[in-house]
């Protein structure tokens, strides 16, 4: 093979490998599209801050952002004001945040008031952890967010903090 052709092929290989790497990376960041068990999450009921059982299925038909968090988790607290803002802005258009706090109720209530949380917050312990796990959170890390379209299909999962820009990118096609 001629040297020039070989170099050209090599460049092509590098470029395609980079593209593949990038694609794989962004794909991973968005979460494996249909891994995890969303059906179980959608079938679950958890107590709200008043202790009343709430079924997640009641928000079906909306684009749902289910966020697992805790008051002892700084990266969780960082993203919540952005969620509050987005709920305010896009709630009318069918965006619904649901917080699932892996924490004790008194602390969650205190925090929800302080941060003017304008979306439902459910509270769980082992059951909530198990739900996060079946939805793809193998490591038990927080924050962990599951995003579902109006039909209840998984369109993204995120382990670690989200911001408005990133989340907008995930929900936009489903809005």
């Amino acid at each position: 093979m001629k040297r020039a052709a070989r170099i050209a092929l090599l460049v092509l290989a590098v470029v395609s490998a980079l593209a593949a790497g990038f694609w794989l990376h962004t794909w991973n960041r968005g979460g494996a599209p249909f891994s995890g068990n969303v059906a179980r999450l959608m079938a679950a009921s958890l107590p709200d801050m008043e202790g009343k059982s709430q079924a997640l299925a009641q928000w079906r038909g909306k684009v749902m952002v289910v966020n697992f968090w805790a008051t002892w988790c700084p990266p969780c607290l960082k993203e919540i004001p952005e969620f509050v803002r987005m709920q305010e802005k896009l709630g009318d258009q069918g965006l619904q945040f649901v917080g699932i706090a892996v924490d004790n109720p008194a602390k969650v209530r205190e925090f929800a008031v302080k941060y003017r949380m304008n979306y439902p917050v459910l509270i769980g312990e082992m059951d909530a952890i198990e739900l996060a796990r079946v939805a793809g959170n193998e490591l038990g890390g927080l924050p962990f967010t599951v995003i579902l379209d109006r039909e209840g299909r998984l369109i993204g999962t995120e382990l670690g903090g989200l911001n408005e820009q990133k989340l907008t990118g995930i929900i936009q096609p489903a809005m």
Binding site: A17, G21, H25, W72, P74, I129, L139, G141
Partner: protein, 171 residues
């Protein structure tokens, strides 16, 4: 195409692919399992004194106020844990919090005639912005009988999460 050139070409392609992987930034996907991020072991260094050791992986840290130690059976008396000074972090939510990185050695006085299980609950986070649920690790400790040699027991992460209420300190 010459066979040797083909082989070399594929080797180069492989190298290029590896370079692409390496360029992908470290993210939450590459997180360690909590028992790998916070490696735990404990041993009796002298009669009545336990040394607990956490080897904290680079890029991870633990919170001082989240450690809880208990012995099974409960009749085993545990003294107050002695921590080295940690690093004071000015957290935007919690104010001044003490954290540990690298290696953490904690000493704990214990009153026990026989063997017992030490249960350590801890909580830590990764710098990439992920916090782990409280982690429970245990070590079986048996006082040496005659030789004076302490018996060491490696910690094992048993149940990832204990009851969260046990672990969460009241603030």
């Amino acid at each position: 195409m010459n066979r040797r050139i083909t082989a070399r070409f594929f080797a180069e392609m492989l190298l290029a692919a590896c370079a692409a992987c390496a360029l992908s930034p470290a993210a939450a996907d590459d997180l360690l399992a909590p028992e790998q991020a916070f490696r735990f072991s404990a041993r009796l260094i002298e009669p009545g004194l336990v040394e607990l050791r956490y080897r904290i992986a680079d890029g991870y840290y633990m919170y001082r106020d989240k450690f809880r130690f208990t012995a099974i059976p409960r009749s085993v008396g545990l003294g107050e844990a002695r921590f080295p000074p940690g690093k004071i972090k000015d957290d935007e939510f919690f104010g001044r919090v003490e954290t540990y990185r690298g290696e953490l050695v904690i000493r704990l006085a214990v009153k026990s005639a026989g063997g017992f299980t030490l249960k350590a609950v801890s909580q830590g986070c990764a710098d990439v912005g992920v916090c782990y649920l409280p982690l429970t690790q245990t070590a079986r400790l048996v006082p040496a009988r005659s030789s004076g040699e302490a018996v060491r027991s490696e910690g094992n992460a048993s149940n990832l999460i204990l009851r969260l209420r046990d672990a969460a300190p009241s603030r």
